[in-house]
Subunit: 385 residues, 2 copies
């Protein structure tokens, strides 16, 4: 099982970038603009209306410079002033990690902001999406993202988490809120949802539009499973489950005005965070009532059969994928304990009377645009009774 | 006056690094350890007990690689596997910005975490200080750092600020707190005090030791003075004063449980943030009662003479510098409206009955260790009556 999980993750991760490698370099539309993810005042990297990324860097003594995005490297060309410039093929809408190669050194682009993913803090770029309005910064009441440090006896340290509180949290000091525990993916950390995920803006906008019941979101580091950072071979859910269920949740329920009971507690996660969510919830049905798995497995009829209280306790199952992930599953159907065709699973558990939802993000892969949209679709379904 | 401010800033900034350039390369103590500011799991950069920084990066096709720290570049040497490694001269205790040069390209070190300063998000490194215990992460109750987005009509956007709330803020919902508005320096932003400054840890530790009256700290972006980011030539305090006094303070007083009056409101800042603090407070003595200038000018007898209500309204003046800044002033005494010898000024205003304090951080320059220590010294003096 451990080995199968590892293989599955590798397949899913490597699929997201290579699809575009055969794209033919045709005429490039010259409407490039600085990316929204640039450092203040930086002209590069830029993005055009096709979703191409144009990188540019001064490196007068360099022999070879490349931009490396979605697992493809593109050569930059040097001009007479020593500035190297070059374009990628069109990228999917949304957020992508990338890096530069300068004479064999993999380095962050000094023009971009930096994001933690793929086991490193490095460059990221947002390709404007047609539906970007839902995570735009608007003139609406804004909630807060709070950095907390909570004591963890099991790991003998103070651990960091981020907590989103809704706009009215500090105005009405008697109101209590449901809580969603929301996990990042492999190689990411607790900054993923606040930064790449645009969690606060998605929530602020949904609340301003009256589309959701306001709730708190808690995001912490989920790679507690291995002492050697990044390892998945010895994947064991227990250490993280202890931190989350025995240490973080009690801390949150004391330090925030939560509705501290099972009906008002949800858990969701993307990719590895989805696997964690599934494992933890199936063992903690007295703690959580709502489940979200974003590009991270599904809930099968077997899960329900093996978990007698499931039908009574679980109020929502939400499964989502990027459309490019679904396409790749046609040739490589998911197998193993985290697998099963997700749509078939949803259809089957719907027949058993489970409140189940399936969402496919159009034209996106195993990347953050799929997960931003998943949060937008998931949030209105939460805590409705 | 505008030109003088610019010159003064340039002098202070360029002085901090060049002092070590003449250091002779003697035998290097081989007790290097990974820096605390490294990305998780990264072995480089490293620091030894002399405060030397050892950088290392794989760049097999490179012609020349250097580490650039405190305004000095040091050559790295390539081994047979294409890994370049090299050491800087000993650095002062505390935090320093740095970067790598690879064949003429200035890039962040992929091993370090990144910090916003010197007008860019880039590498930083902490040289362990003998007194680092005061900003260590300890097993004490922790406050929160909250990211807020507040509406700003004058700049027609939502602006970001960080707010430190003390550990007991969310436990006792009737208690109200004084507020310190705390500004970063030129080329930095509102992340400076939470990240480089270790504000929350300094405060958590001081509160746990019972050394201060708990208060809220608000940190926002202070470079509102110029539409072209980074410009100081057209320095004008008015745009930032409007954001701070007319927009941010009212927002904070509505959204946080503050003591919303002049006796319970302080302002402090480092370098350019100190100049801003001085200018804003002298015009807003009905808003602020406590002043802190860290490596950022001083309050002179002339200021008090020209500001009739000063003696009545101001409860504390705190001026601090790094000892290396004081040393450099011996040869270049500060001049102009922000200048005057700071110690002479303090002695003079003490004689006029002002509650004034002067602090010199030992063996540090115009850098964050001076300002971490300044906050530690300043905080216990605040809101004492």
């Amino acid at each position: 099982m451990k080995q199968k999980l590892l293989s599955y993750l590798i397949i899913v991760f490597s699929c997201s970038g290579t699809c575009l490698a055969q794209d033919v370099q045709t005429e490039i539309i010259e409407d490039f603009k600085p990316a929204t993810t640039n450092q203040p005042g930086r002209d590069y990297p830029q993005v055009n209306s096709e979703g191409r990324v144009r990188a540019s860097i001064l490196a007068p003594e360099a022999y070879r410079v490349q931009i490396d995005i979605s697992a493809v490297k593109y050569d930059l060309i040097k001009d007479t002033s020593g500035v190297w410039t070059g374009d990628s093929n069109p990228q999917d809408e949304g957020f992508h990690y990338y890096q530069l190669w300068i004479d064999g050194a993999a380095v962050p682009d000094p023009g971009s902001l930096y994001f933690y993913g793929a086991m490193r803090c490095g460059s990221g770029i947002d390709i404007p999406a047609k539906d970007q309005d839902f995570y735009a910064l608007k003139n609406v009441p804004h909630g807060q993202i709070r950095q907390i440090l909570f004591p963890s006896n099991s790991t003998n340290t103070s651990r960091r988490a981020y907590v989103y509180t809704p706009p009215d949290y500090d105005r009405n000091l008697t109101k209590r809120y449901p809580v969603l525990y929301l996990q990042h993916g492999w190689g990411e950390d607790e900054t993923g949802w606040p930064n790449q995920g645009k969690t606060n803006l998605i929530m602020d906008n949904l609340i301003a539009e009256g589309k959701i019941r306001p709730f708190i979101i808690v995001m912490t580091y989920g790679m507690t499973n291995d002492t050697k950072i990044g390892g998945l071979r010895n994947f064991d859910i227990k250490p993280f489950q202890t931190v989350l269920v025995d240490e973080l949740i009690p801390y949150i329920d004391v330090h925030f005005r939560t509705l501290p009971d099972q009906p008002h507690r949800a858990m969701a996660g993307l990719s590895m965070g989805g696997f964690e969510t599934r494992l933890i919830i199936l063992e903690n049905l007295d703690t959580f009532s709502h489940i979200g798995l974003f590009s991270g497995g599904s809930i099968s009829p077997d899960d329900i059969k093996n978990t007698p209280s499931f039908k009574d306790k679980v109020k929502l199952v939400f499964i989502s994928y990027g459309s490019r992930e679904i396409e790749s599953m046609k040739n490589r159907p998911p197998r193993g304990p985290f697998g099963g065709d997700p749509k078939e699973n949803i259809d089957a558990i719907l027949k058993e009377g489970i409140n189940a939802h399936f969402y496919v993000s159009p034209n996106t892969a195993h990347e953050w645009q799929s997960w931003r949209r998943s949060l937008r679709e998931f949030a209105p379904l939460l805590f409705r009774e």
